[in-house]
């Protein structure tokens, strides 16, 4: 039988406010354990929570950016479970009246665009962190009470790749809003996945498992791939899927059963009597909506319009907000009408440099001015694209300007026909077979010979002139 996976994601985003969700403690990452705590976030008897207004504002910002309906009447609930990292043994969260409902995230697939619905967005507080030492467990309460936003998708994702794209697009939107570090390693972005499979054509959802301990987007994709295989395999041999929570083991690339629904906890949700329900005025939502920064989709359209970029190129450039701003800056400062030259350099060599170094474009620390100086060398035919790539790497490594590197290494391209002719003659002599091949109609042979001349000139030959010269010379020969 042919099965189809159905996936829904729950994303937790830590909101970057100065103080915690319900008290005045600092949210700075990496402080000495238990140094950023107070009676409120430690859940001491008698202490009371007070909602941090900037947490709510940031949450509304996210909700609006995801196209959600921000609810006029909302409240906090207590979610109960006993664990030492949860000092009150309940978490302040939102249950039946969340902040916002019915949003969406658009993703791009090979088959085209797809809209993934966002079911709800709600506010909650984070728990602390257990540290398991030798024969004992310690609790760090610094993270306790950190402001979290939970973003729950509808089960609209039908493959691990779709889930991966959804996460990337969601993260992109969040980074534009500048409300979170979105750093999975620091735990400021976390994701749980609900996955079930059903026979193709069937409408009813299958029994789901909830995957936890997903520490990267790759882990989300890999664990889903594993889980689909496991579930389909089980169904194939007539086993029943049970509803359970499964932990992803990144090293072994497997999921393990953590607890089944039979042992599922009853969280005993009820409205938190310490935090009265509150009304969010439409005017406030509207104000936040109006102040929303340009979002990736809008920026993409604008880059296409302003700089004549293709949808694909613009799509790549807008992914990260800072990179998009950098790219835009470069293109704006580029004097020519046609920006393709800049876009190609950004999306091609520069992006691969960034990928090699596991950083963003801005992480390369290359100023727009220096990049444009390099492009000017290419535009004026002083260096080839090939040389430009080499210079680029050097610029990033040494922080030197293009002009300095080109001068030091004497890289200005040879456009002078007489000196190129010398090399051409040498190459023709040394590569008799290729010359014959070309004459016999093998066009490829020309490129080989061009390559040989390039080698001799250490890549400095002007490729256009070289090709012309070589073609003429071979015709004569």
């Amino acid at each position: 039988m042919n099965y189809e996976p159905v996936i829904g994601l729950e994303v937790h985003v830590q909101i970057k406010t100065k103080s915690k969700a319900f008290c005045g403690c600092s949210t700075e990452f990496g402080a000495e354990p238990n140094s950023q705590v107070c009676p409120v976030c430690l859940g001491f008897p008698g202490s009371l929570p007070v909602l941090n207004a900037s947490f709510l504002d940031a949450a509304i910002k996210v909700a609006v950016a995801l196209g959600c309906q921000v609810q006029e009447f909302t409240k906090f609930d207590r979610k109960h479970y006993f664990y030492p990292d949860l000092p009150k043994n309940y978490q302040i969260s939102q249950y039946d009246l969340p902040l916002a409902l019915n949003g969406f995230v658009d993703i791009e697939l090979e088959s085209g665009a797809k809209r993934i619905r966002v079911k709800r967005v709600h506010l909650e507080e984070d728990a602390g962190k257990l540290i398991h030492a030798d024969k004992m467990s310690l609790v760090d309460f610094n993270r306790t009470g950190m402001p979290l936003l939970e973003i729950v998708s509808e089960p609209d994702l039908y493959s691990p790749q779709e889930a991966y794209e959804y996460l990337n697009n969601l993260k992109s939107i969040l980074s534009y809003l500048d409300i979170s570090d979105c750093d999975m390693e620091k735990g400021s972005l976390r994701c749980d996945a609900n996955i079930s499979v059903r026979p193709k054509g069937e409408e009813k959802l299958g029994i789901k498992s909830e995957l936890k301990n997903l520490n990267s987007f790759r882990a989300v994709r890999d664990s889903l791939t594993y889980e689909i295989e496991r579930q389909v395999g089980a169904l194939g041999v007539g086993e029943k899927i049970i509803q359970e929570t499964r932990l992803w083991d990144d090293k072994e690339s497997k999921t393990y059963s953590m607890r089944s629904k039979g042992e599922a906890k009853d969280y005993r949700y009820f409205p938190d009597p310490d935090l009265p329900p509150f009304i969010i005025k439409f005017s406030k939502v509207d104000e936040i909506r109006k102040a929303l920064p340009e979002l990736p989709k809008e920026k993409q359209v604008r880059l296409m319009r302003d700089f004549g970029l293709s949808e694909y190129d613009a799509g790549i450039l807008v992914f990260s907000k800072k990179d998009a701003e950098y790219s835009e800056d470069c293109m704006r400062k580029y004097p020519k009408e046609n920006k393709k030259q800049v876009a190609n350099l950004l999306i091609g060599p520069l992006l691969s440099e960034a990928n090699n170094r596991n950083c963003r474009l801005v992480g390369l620390d290359l100023s727009a001015e220096n990049l444009l100086e390099l492009i000017d060398y290419v535009d004026s035919n002083k260096i080839s694209h090939l040389t430009a790539k080499i210079v680029l790497t050097e610029m990033i490594d040494t922080k030197k300007k293009a002009s300095v590197i080109i001068q030091e290494k004497n890289l200005v391209q040879i456009s002078d026909t007489s000196s190129l002719n010398i090399s051409i003659e040498e190459v023709i002599k040394e590569n008799d077979k290729s010359v014959q091949d070309f004459k016999n109609g093998k066009e490829n042979a020309l490129m080989f010979l061009v390559g040989q001349v390039m080698k001799k000139t250490k890549g400095k030959a002007n490729p256009k002139i070289l090709q012309e010269l070589l073609r003429g010379r071979l015709k004569d020969a």
Partner: protein
Amino acid sequence: MSCQKLYKFSAHQLREKLNSREIKSEDILLSLSERIRETESKVKAYVRLNGQNLKFSSQTPAKTDGLLNGIPISIKDNICTEGMPTECCSKILQGFNPPYDATVIRKLKEAGALILETKLNMDEFAFGSSTENSFFGVTHNPWNLACVPGGSSGGSAAAVAADEAIAALGSDTGGSIRQPASFCGVVGLKPTYGRVSRYGLIAFASSLDQIGPLTKDVRDCALVMNVISGYDPMDSTSVNMAVPDYTASLGKDIRGMKFAIPKEYFVEGMDPEIKNIFSEALEQIKKLGATYQEVSLPNTKYAVPVYYIVATAEASSNLSRFDGVQYGLRIGDRGQVAGDRGQSAENRLIDMYNKTRGEGFGEEAKRRIILGTFSLSHGYYDAYYLRALKVRTLIKNDFDAVFKDFDAILAPVSPTAAFKIGEKASDPLKMYLSDIYTISANLAGIPAISVPGGFTKGKLPVGLQILAKPFAEEVIFQVASAYEQATPWYNEEPKL
């Protein structure tokens, strides 16, 4: 100066003596210490006293204009005091020294009050109406040592009645200030929900709890309210409204005022003596030029069940933090709680929770945690908690309707006077029913006071309850003061 028996005086009288430099604050402390030494072994209003000299919070920069400058105030054991034990009279909070003051304590200190380190006895976590549920043992009613002082603020009421405290703070979730005030013949006010900050009050039922004064007279009650009332940014449920000078309401006549008497309160189980005393009180009110009329609060019959669903649900949640991890009692292994999918470690953790909570909580606390956990459980929530919230709204609406036409409601505080120690201890349901006249005010969030209203033939005090609409404490003080001035009960003293 202690020959003057300063402990007998009210806070406002002592303020006058201090103002005229007739006495010094130390004289009051000495006199109070002496009194406690004399009578505490009979009353047992305080906990952790250990026969030592009384200790007070050091007076933060003495403000000579502070409303309570130099006046010692005694505090119920569930209100946090920085560096002074606060244990809710529960074993599970043994040794808990809060690192912070409750907002009311901060305000008292700022007004120059001296906070007694030894705290007042109470039912564990305020669960009870007799102070018999205290880990430290029962407090005795100063009017009859064989009787309970009421509860849960039994220690507060008994201490004020026995002159072992000049004034005290208690907390009221379902009558825990008014009922002991009635049983002990003192003044006790439950303010409007949101009038006094709950920050630092160890929560029983967050939507019902209010801190309030227990005092020797109405003026002291108004004086303490002037100090502790007001908006607190640390408490999201406190209300941002200006605080009037409550003492300005004292001494005004009540001619022409209209009072309502809820007919549903005169039900089976009400002691005929209580009924008589209440009727006499009404006669007195009439003499003062006011009128009264019977009204209906039709949903009164639901108040007790609604209260015990809402209060226990919130309590079960609020008390989940007492787990042995951070503070108070811990019984069990110190060890790794959860390693790599380690079941045995997980079991050790649960074992620690079970032992700590099993031994730390008393019977009544366990009963209420179980009741509350049940009504919040999946599948029961809608039938119990949600329904109770809806009926709670109906109860509130009943009061709103009455206050459209009346200035205040007059009612008894409790169906009986103080009962014998042990009389109801084994029957929780009977004990719950004794809250019948007080819990509605908590459910509706309205202010209510108990002022001395007479005595039974057995010489036990009985209170008169005055209830008003939200934030109408001024009306309550006006009526209470007029009634107090017209009656002799205030002059009576227990013989100890």
